[in-house]
Symmetry: C2
Subunit: 191 residues, 2 copies
DNA sequence: TACCAACTGTGTCAAATGACACACTAACAA
DNA sequence: TTGTTAGTGTGTCATTTGACACAGTTGGTA
């Protein structure tokens, strides 16, 4: 619960009362490795906050190969935004790579929250803004850093991902092949 | 003006009166090729809506080389969100590659709008959501499509960018070298 | 224990890429 | 007109990459 509160109160603007009101919209759930959070063809009607654990968010290319879209390493939010906000069928899937503690915010609760008043709407807006800023950073890195740099960044900043995702999954996340990532790993074995 | 109205009323939910109220927050400006919209070291205190024209959004890597972050092809919004929303100094720059019609929304007007009531806050939230969905699509493409595929997509969907940005700028946008993009171009000369 | 499926490690080779070098062209200003 | 600057076209070559093939390893299960 603490991870959720800390993440949400990033700007330290919420009172204890407001925080209680906010977290009451979430439902805690302990999930096991292998649990499906959402899947291809279904409408994603929740936002998941991962307090602890690693999620594999993926889709399939035109050849039917599974491609990693993101590896979510708590604490962070996870959903298929397009499916959630536009009630479309998702093209993606999401599976827990470890046992996780997640807090689920259903669309119903979310809509209720953001329509309460301008404060909560702006609050949700700020969360989306933070997500967008994070994704824009990822986009810059992906365009202008080498696979090797990005792998080393990952080792440094997200060791849980390195430990829990297979080399193939990580390679796909980095946009390269299993073999190339293996060569990079080998090169850095003793550092 | 029409481009702005069409873009904003994507979901067709605004009345004529609401639309007037909304667009009154923007100021129209005609800018010339080469005009700087924002630059490194300054705080970006406006959101720009590009009705027509192409913008070059870039930053510099640790070697001082200019790297293309995005090529904005109207109609679309453009800003440095991190600088705008957190009043930080920007690390990026943005220059018009063509003469453009832009509508400027200052931070002051933006803040005033989103604090009016829950409806306008949710409206702004929806715009940011749409932007995030677009960027997530770009991220998927960049990870799992080849440079060649992405170049051909660009030719098909954004011909104004192809015509107005230099080959080096486009290569940087695609995350490759000028020479490699040249080879791809040559290969597709007659198709 | 024995088996199986998923994953990892590794070698080979053709193809793609980046870096470099340099000639050529277009646009613009003096 | 001439010079200057930015950008383009192109060849060479060392390096990196992806694809393929296959052996080894691991964890779970019958």
């Amino acid at each position: 619960m603490e991870a959720l509160r800390t993440f949400l109160n990033d700007s330290k603007e919420l009172s204890a009362k407001e925080m209680s009101f906010l977290v009451d919209h979430f439902e805690q759930r302990q999930i096991k490795r292998g649990t499906v959070l959402f899947e291809q063809g279904a409408i994603v009607n929740s936002i998941f906050f991962v307090a602890k654990g690693v999620l594999h968010h993926f889709n399939y290319n035109e050849l039917g190969e599974r491609k990693t879209i993101d590896l979510h390493d708590g604490p962070c939010f996870c959903t298929d935004l397009e499916s959630f906000s536009e009630s479309k069928r998702s093209e993606d899937g999401c599976i827990a790579l470890t046992n996780c503690t997640v807090y689920v915010l259903t669309k119903e609760k979310y809509d209720s929250l953001v329509n309460t008043n301008v404060k909560w709407s702006n609050f949700a807006k700020r969360i989306i803004e933070r997500t967008l800023i994070k994704i824009l950073d990822q986009l810059k890195a992906i365009s202008h850093k080498s696979i090797e740099e990005r792998y080393l960044d990952l080792v440094k900043t997200k060791p849980d991902i390195i430990q829990n995702a297979s080399i193939g999954t990580i390679a796909s996340y980095l946009g390269t092949s299993r073999e190339t990532l293996h060569r990079i790993r080998k090169k850095h074995l003793f550092s």
